[in-house]
Amino acid sequence: MVFVGSDDQLTVPTAVKIVIAGGFGTGKTTMVASVSEIAPLRTEELLTEAGVHVDDLVGIEGKDTTTVALDFGRITINTKVVLYLFGTPGQNRFWFMWDELATGAIGAVVLVDTRRLDSSFPSIDFFEHRGIPFIVAVNCFDGSQLYTVDEVRHALDLDEAIPVLLCDARDRESSKAVLVGLIQHSMNRLAAV
């Protein structure tokens, strides 16, 4: 690892990330919380009322600004690697955040609530168009699992190669299995190229 202004030999870990995406209320932060070693943290980006990303504070005192919140968690893999889990912002107009989140990510979990399947379409489109590995996890909270995996796959018009898993985002083991499924899918994709 190379550092700017390095004056000692201590290193920092390599950071990797996984994006937890999906429509509003599909359980993204719940999933982050169920596997994170810390209570999910929240960080905020500034943007103008028009939804434009503020990456420069020039003139910001004269503009109406709002914030977009990002919830995230952390799993220390070992002394050399740390994994971050980022929930995507609930509102789809914040696409600029999605780009930053997706850059260099292991991949994405698209959480789906079968009562509102259409709310996951924008997430699936986003990752498909950018060639980012993703899997679909159907969050079966409160016994809301109304459809089979095949029905969900058909309704979402998913390629056969995209894994679809059933999960309970509140359950740690279930959420772990989803992350394992995504990492394996990313490894398979890597092996295929």
Partner: protein, 121 residues
């Protein structure tokens, strides 16, 4: 539209002028490539901190262990753009060390390590 007076205080966000004041009018981080997960850590040979602001010192204390830019922003409770400016100051002074690499798509060995790690939690 909110009136200009309303703008200065927001119920959820608190006093909105604060981020701008905290960076003393500076508007853009000098250090490039500060991403959400970029790891930063306080140097063990940090310079004299008496001239630093409270926020800078808080960052130095938080970064006694390696943290991501996003974690520093969350613990300091300031927007990302502000923490990037503050971190840039410390990086320029040589007080904070930073990964220079932009996020890379992990290779097979790294993915295997992450897979083993997640299975082990």
């Amino acid at each position: 539209m909110t009136s200009r007076e309303d703008w200065w205080y927001d119920e959820a966000a608190g006093p909105l002028v604060r981020p701008y004041a905290m960076v003393r009018g500076r508007t853009r981080p000098n250090a490039p490539d500060l991403h959400l997960v970029t790891q930063v850590r306080a140097s063990s040979f940090a310079s004299d901190q008496t001239s630093l602001t409270v926020e800078h010192r808080e960052i130095m204390s938080l970064c006694a262990r390696p943290l991501s830019v996003a974690e520093v922003a969350a613990y300091l409770d300031v927007p990302l753009v502000v923490v990037k400016v503050l971190l840039s100051d410390l990086i320029e002074r040589g007080d904070v060390l930073v990964q220079t690499s932009t996020p890379q798509i992990p290779d097979r060995d790294l993915l295997q390590a992450v897979l083993d790690g997640v299975r082990g939690i």
